[in-house]
């Protein structure tokens, strides 16, 4: 299941960036040389490049746009992305992609490289977010993401939450949608992502067949949950 290149995509606000950073950190802890590519050219808020310095200290090379243009609204991609594709010293390369099909489109130009290197493309799904609240709209979104990115989605990451209002009951309420998508499209659920804050409360209700991936939320200031 683990490949050298993992693409993390999905809808706006599904939890892609939090998962990408946490997954990158986990791979770094395992001793891999990790590159994290912030491919979000859609939205200038809550991006992994905002954490580039902290992540560098933790052994992760974050590549976004060219230095000095991090806060620009320019859909320009750094040539250093190609370097990460080709430099085998990077044992794990993670793409944190912008939301929705408009964000996924940025992947298209790298198609020959993905074809050559192989990849996993995991879609983060929060069934309580607009755009992924029904089986129909989620299936449609998957189709559009695949068309825009010219890649196949190979795994689902559940991120069932309502922020500070998350409860075990709510988690269970969100699960059937992800399981149905997985069954219909025959895409495995690779992880159930939970905020470490809620993990003790949620773990007892999460079926044992799932790998639980705990995430320390990095992007959310504490005052937001007061």
């Amino acid at each position: 299941m683990e490949k050298r290149i993992t693409v993390i995509g999905g809808a706006y606000g599904s939890g892609k960036t939090e998962f990408s950073m946490a997954y990158a950190l986990e791979q770094a802890k395992k001793g891999y040389q990790v590159g994290l590519i912030d491919l979000d050219i859609v939205n200038p808020y809550f991006r992994s490049r905002d954490q580039a310095e902290e992540l560098a200290h933790l052994g992760i090379n974050v590549v976004s746009t060219e230095p000095g243009l991090e806060n620009s609204d320019i859909p320009a991609l750094s040539p250093r992305i190609y370097a990460l594709f080709q430099d085998q010293a990077y044992q794990r390369v993670i793409f944190d992609v912008g939301g929705d099909p408009v964000g996924a489109r940025a992947l298209g130009r790298f198609n020959p490289y993905f074809a050559l290197a192989g990849y996993e493309y995991w879609m983060v799904i929060n069934p309580f977010r607009p755009g992924t609240r029904s089986v129909q709209e989620t299936t449609e979104l998957i189709g559009k993401l695949q068309t825009a990115s010219r890649l196949q989605i190979t795994g689902l990451v559940g991120n069932i939450n309502l922020g500070r209002e998350t409860t075990p009951e709510l988690w269970l309420e969100g699960l059937p949608l992800i399981e149905t998508i997985s069954d219909i499209l025959e895409i495995p659920i690779v992880y159930q992502m939970v905020s470490s804050q809620f993990a003790p409360m949620l773990r007892p209700v999460i079926p044992v067949k799932y790998d639980v991936f705990e995430v320390d939320l990095r992007m959310r200031p504490s005052w937001m949950d007061m």
Binding site: N43, P44, R129, P130, G163, P221, M224, M226
Partner: protein, 357 residues
């Protein structure tokens, strides 16, 4: 029907408008509010509404003028530089008394500025950014839920007074995600608008939507009518929220994101025994001046916390009319004050005061 959902502020502006019966959206893209037109482009066709990406901000606001003038619930959204471009249209709309809603998800300025959040459009929103003696009603939500609720109130209030309403937020409120309850408003009904310009009907007097007043007496009468309306709005539409002001010596006055940050800082200072409260204006115009004056009479002092060089502080000073101290803490150029910074500003304000008691 009510449903729980995780929403971004920008999605909430859009869905909140749809729930409020808005069926016409006209806009032009600008960061950090692009999710609003994007959401509208998808949702409006689903509800039988109209979405138009105009060729410019000027065009978009004048489309709102037209649709609102025909009696529809219509809106536009933009961010700071785009809102500046709309000012001529807003002045016309206010003068012609056309109800509509304008959302400003503000970013750092002045000029082209940056993409990060800011509250430096306060003056423009509450003092009249365009020409002439007019006012918009200005709502300032402090959470994603409040964005949804205030979008409904914005359309209702616009229709009630035939006046443009601005909903002013900073970029972070547009981008942050929170759990919300999305409900259909049971009392949703768009009032009859006999004044609307919808074509000639035999026997019905002609409706004219216009902001021209060439004859001086006619123009002055129009202005007197507007001013009377503004006094009524000042009397009836002030909204604010208080938290712990009764026993407070120092009251932090803040709205939007600044109020959220301040709340955490106030809790921290309270834990240190400092008597601090929060006063959060929800309408920036009409401003809750009367209540602030009462609090000043009661011996409270104030500090505004703003993501600007200090704009709302002028209205707080006017409200307390010299009867009380008004301090300021702010970050600007798109920076957000941290909880620690606001806490330190609060603690500093108490330094050397207790000894005089």
């Amino acid at each position: 029907m009510a449903e729980r959902i995780m929403m971004k502020g920008n999605e909430a502006f859009a869905e909140g408008a749809i729930k409020a019966g808005c069926r016409f959206f006209f806009g032009y893209p600008i960061t950090p509010q692009n999710e609003i037109p994007e959401y509208m482009s998808r949702r409006m066709p689903e509800v039988g509404g109209t979405f138009i990406q105009a060729e410019s901000e000027v065009s978009a606001i004048n489309m709102v003028y037209g649709a609102g003038g025909a009696g529809a619930r219509a809106m536009t959204s933009s961010s700071s530089p785009g809102i500046s471009l709309k000012q001529e249209g807003i002045s016309y709309i206010a003068t012609a008394e056309v109800p509509c809603v304008i959302v400003n998800v503000a970013r750092g300025g002045p000029g082209l500025g940056g993409l990060t959040p800011s509250q430096a459009d306060y003056f423009q929103a509450v003092k009249g950014g365009g020409h002439g003696d007019y006012h918009m009603i200005v709502f300032a939500p402090g959470s994603v839920q409040e964005i949804i609720d205030l979008m409904y109130e914005a359309f209702v209030t616009a229709d009630k007074y035939r006046n443009p309403v601005m909903v002013l937020a900073d970029g972070l409120l547009g981008q942050m995600m929170e759990p919300v309850v999305l409900r259909d408003w049971e009392d949703l009904q768009i009032p009859e608008k006999p004044w609307a310009s919808t074509g000639m009907v035999a026997g019905k007097p002609q409706s004219v939507i216009n902001s021209l007043g060439l004859a001086p007496e006619e123009l002055e009468n129009m202005n007197i009518r507007l001013q009377n309306k503004y006094r009524t709005i000042e009397e009836n539409e002030v909204r604010y929220e208080e938290d712990g002001v009764e026993d407070a010596e120092l009251i932090i006055v803040a709205y939007g994101t600044s109020a959220r940050v301040s709340k955490s800082a106030i809790n921290k200072a309270r834990a240190e025994g400092k008597k601090v409260g929060l006063f959060r204006p929800i309408t920036l115009w009409p401003f809750p001046s009367k209540r602030l004056a009462e609090l000043a009479e009661a011996g409270k002092r104030f500090m505004t916390v703003e993501m600007s060089a200090g704009q709302m502080i002028e209205d707080v000073k006017l409200a307390v009319n010299g009867k009380s101290e008004v301090e300021f803490y702010g970050r600007y150029n798109g920076a957000i004050p941290s909880v620690t910074e606001v806490y330190q500003a609060i603690m500093k304000s108490f330094e050397g005061r207790e000894v005089h008691k």
